[in-house]
């Protein structure tokens, strides 16, 4: 093999790896990510059932019903409330009236089937998407939140 051929092999290999990496990234970006939505957005514009969403807002006071490991509650941003169903253990800081992010899909009946629940991790932290959503809907009370450590995640 000549020097030139060797170099071409090397460049070809590098190009191949790079191209496959880019291809994988593009493919994964169309499929492996979740968009954030507020309850009003979901209510006014219901997403297709296969679309993964992160629903953020406050846990509506008085909406939490626990039955063994199954939990039903509503996430609200003050304008609309979306019912959520979740099976499993809730995060330590899941409380009524507090910020929460639920990740999952909306089923045919309009019920949000969550497989992951994020709650704020201490008294001053609120998931950032929730802060944004609440600011948008005018429910924001700045004294209730500040930046803090990373949110606590619980997945089934």
């Amino acid at each position: 093999m000549t020097r030139k051929q060797r170099r071409l092999t090397l460049i070809g290999l590098a190009g191949l790896v790079l191209a496959s990496a880019v291809g994988l990234i593009l493919f994964a970006l169309s499929d492996g990510i979740a968009f954030f939505a507020t309850p009003s957005e979901v209510a006014s514009n219901p997403p297709p059932p296969e679309r993964r969403l992160r629903l953020g807002g406050l846990v509506e006071a008085g909406s939490v019903v626990k039955d063994g490991t199954e939990v039903r509650f509503a996430v609200t941003d003050g304008k609309a409330a979306i019912p959520v169903h979740y099976t499993g253990m809730l995060p330590d800081l899941f409380r009524e009236g507090q910020g929460v992010v639920a990740e999952g899909k909306v089923d045919g009946a309009g019920l949000f089937q969550a497989d992951t629940i994020l709650a704020k991790h201490d008294e001053t932290y609120m998931p950032k998407e929730v802060v944004e959503a609440l600011k948008k809907s005018g429910e924001w009370r700045p004294e209730a939140a500040a930046e803090g450590p990373a949110p606590e995640t619980v997945t089934r």
């Binding site: 093999m1 020097r3 060797r6 092999t9 090397l10 290999l13 590098a14 790896v17 790079l18 496959s20 990496a21 994988l24 990234i25 493919f27 994964a28 970006l29 499929d31 492996g32 990510i33 979740a34 968009f35 954030f36 992160r54 063994g68 490991t69 099976t87 499993g88 253990m89 809730l90 330590d92 800081l93 990740e103 991790h121 201490d122 008294e123 932290y125 950032k128 998407e129 802060v131 944004e132 500040a146 930046e147 803090g148 450590p149 990373a150 606590e152 995640t153 619980v154 997945t155 089934r156």
Partner: protein, 659 residues
């Protein structure tokens, strides 16, 4: 007085770092040996000052000096001693001080043990180190000063975030920082080479022990963090593709690539420019990790704006060092001499493939980490990039790498023989086929992917053992001959085998624990029994527990195997009163290499509680494998070949860096 002396020592360290950056650089450019000689002594005294400063802050934590604001915000007089100490770096200001302490430590080690370096190279390396130190000391003093005082002092502190009150988190940051900051040395060497316009195989040998040491610490630090998340967060996951984790994983991938390319450069004088680029890239990713974690961008792009001084300062440091080093690279890379030639199929070729795949994988992780930030900043649209993304991109890139790993060490330098290498791996091929056949027969086609994963792990493990067997001519020569050969092999050879073997063990743990696990989430009352992993768990009842700043309830489970009691488990639910924060403490019991894992939900007044029970097959191998990898690195580091070149043979022992 001690607090104020600590504060002053930090300021002095800043002033001296400035001198330590400028004078040796000027000396190296003008050829003035006296100015170059300033570098080691300045680095050593800076180390002494920063260490004193860190000690003063630790002392303030130990005696609960609540006139120091940092202590008030992160400590409590009733906290156990170990968490008073770990509280020092369990917060932003203290962790930055630890960062600088480790930076100064590495500078000091180069100053002390770098006797085998030419004076000019040593002066330049230490000048770059001092420049990094200057930037971060200025950052601490300007925006994150841990020595600010309160007068009058409050009566009690606010306690450390309970999630951080854990022995795992006490040792995780120092290990991780030793890794992160250790990358600064190879960066400094790369910059020194670019400034001087000269680089050769000896350079690679000087750099390699430092890179290897940093890599070992980084490996251990990531492992520790993963195990901590596994047992502390209470839901049995060990890796979340969380941006903070990615921030430590990217430098690891780059450092792994750097380790391998430095071998090529040392042995064959090739890949010089690439190696220099990797050294810059590795430290840039470390800096980026520090920036991502410390600026608050991760919590929210907007949190960045809520403390602009801090975020902008780190961003400026980032641009200065990353931008500066890449510009220098663009300007000077052309002046570096070309190196040796090699055929595509050769040890060099295999290591190039390793580098390509590792950097491509690193790039996908970087994309996944930064894409949501970029998208939000540009369009305002909010997305989350989670595990599915990384499984789809990172996974496929790792598979060809792992298939190639056993071939690498069996190929010859310059021109290799792929067929001969494959022959030597015959035993591994057979075992892989056996794994696939037996696995499919036992587990069925529904677990085909898991069986292939197992086969990959078997390939890595047996492949690395085959390589060692070939080297010592096991079974092909008398046993005594094999033993003689083994004792003659350099330790670095065993290090390679061990590191590749560790990778296989980790893969085995990942595949087995995700494909063959039992997971139960159920409501239990005292007296109830559940089954998991062939064992039965009975909830006996609840017990109160309390510690310095918390109180809580433990549930007592008895674990029976075929009727006999084999263990008791006591997961807890705690309430930390000062921060009014509940936490979950899971209980884990190891059986062989597998684990039984129990964590609690809320306990209702009637004694019923949601319980999460996992049986995870071979899960401990994930971390054992990583520790084996680190051991392999440490073994290579102890190889005498990496510490040669000290001016006097009698001082060889003293020239061992960070051993």
């Amino acid at each position: 007085m001690i607090v104020e002396l600590g504060h002053y020592a930090l300021v002095l360290a800043l002033a001296l770092s400035i001198a330590g950056a400028i004078l040796p650089l000027y000396g190296a450019l003008t050829g003035d040996r006296r100015l170059m000689a300033v570098a080691p002594s300045a680095s050593l005294i800076v180390l002494v000052f920063v260490a004193f400063s860190f000690g003063a802050l630790t002392h303030a934590y130990l005696v609960s000096d609540f006139s120091v604001r940092n202590v008030v915000e992160n400590s409590h007089s009733l906290k156990p001693l170990i968490f008073k100490i770990s509280g020092v770096w369990g917060n932003h200001e203290g962790s930055m001080l630890l960062w600088v302490l480790i930076l100064a430590l590495f500078g000091g080690l180069v100053a002390l043990f770098g006797n085998n370096l030419p004076l000019k190279l040593k002066a330049l390396v230490l000048a770059v180190q001092s420049a990094i130190g200057t930037a971060f000391l200025a950052f601490i003093l300007a925006t994150s000063n841990p020595f600010l005082r309160l007068d009058p002092a409050p009566a009690q502190g606010r306690d450390l975030n309970p999630v951080l009150q854990d022995i795992g988190l006490a040792i995780h940051p120092p290990l991780l920082y030793l890794g992160y900051v250790g990358c600064s040395i190879s960066f400094a060497f790369a910059i020194a080479a670019l400034i001087d316009g000269r680089i050769d195989a000896a350079w690679a040998r000087w750099v390699r022990p430092w890179t290897l040491a940093a890599w070992v610490f980084l490996t251990l630090g990531i492992t520790m963090g993963s195990y901590w998340a596994y047992y502390e967060l209470g839901w049995g996951g060990w890796w979340f593709w969380d941006p903070v984790e990615n921030a430590s994983f990217m430098p690891w991938l780059a450092a792994t690539a750097l380790l391998h390319s430095a071998i090529v450069m040392e042995k064959r004088d090739a890949l010089k420019i690439w190696t220099v680029l990797l050294a810059i890239l590795t430290f840039s990713l470390s800096l980026l990790g520090t920036f991502l974690v410390r600026s608050g961008v991760l919590t929210s792009v907007h949190a960045f704006a809520s403390d602009p001084a801090r975020g902008v300062f780190i961003l400026v440091i980032l641009c200065l060092f990353i931008g500066g080093s890449f510009s220098l690279f663009a300007l000077r890379a052309g002046t570096l001499a070309q190196g040796g030639l090699f055929a595509p199929i050769s040890r060099e070729g295999a290591l190039v493939l390793n580098n390509l795949l590792l950097t491509a994988a690193c790039a996908t992780v970087l994309t996944g980490t930064l894409y949501p930030l970029a998208l939000e900043a540009l369009t305002g649209e909010k997305i989350s990039v989670g595990a599915p993304f990384f499984d789809m991109t990172f996974g496929p890139l790792m598979v060809p790498l792992m298939i190639a790993v056993p071939f690498g060490p069996l190929l010859a330098w310059k021109r290799g023989d792929l067929y001969a290498a494959a022959q030597r791996l015959f035993a591994a091929f057979v075992l892989v086929l056996a794994t696939i056949v037996v696995g499919l027969a036992l587990a069925g086609t529904s677990k085909a992917l898991a069986v292939l994963g197992l086969a990959l792990a078997v390939w890595l493990i047996t492949g690395s053992l085959c390589e060692m067997a070939f080297r010592v001519k096991l079974f092909r020569a008398p046993l005594a001959e094999s033993v003689r050969r083994a004792s003659g092999l350099p330790r670095a050879a065993f290090g390679t085998t061990l590191a590749h073997l560790g990778l296989g063990l980790t893969v085995l743990g990942i595949v087995a624990s995700s494909a063959w696990n039992t997971e139960l989430i159920t409501t239990m009352k005292p007296g109830d029994t559940v089954e998991a992993g062939g064992r039965s768990l009975t909830l006996d009842g609840f017990l109160p527990v309390s510690g310095g700043t918390y109180s809580g309830t433990a549930a007592r489970f008895t674990v029976r195997e075929g009727g006999t009691v084999v263990a008791t488990l006591a997961p807890e639910k705690r309430l930390y009163s000062v921060q009014n924060m509940p936490t979950t403490e899971s209980a884990i019991r190891t059986f062989g290499l597998s684990q039984l894992y129990v964590s609690l939900g809320d306990i209702k007044p009637d004694g019923a509680t949601v319980v999460r029970v996992y049986w995870k097959t071979l899960v401990t191998l994930i971390w054992i494998g990583a520790v084996v990898m680190a051991l392999g690195g440490a073994l290579s580091l102890s190889d005498r070949r990496l510490r040669v070149g000290a001016p006097k043979p009698a001082r060889r022992g003293a020239a061992v860096p960070a051993e």
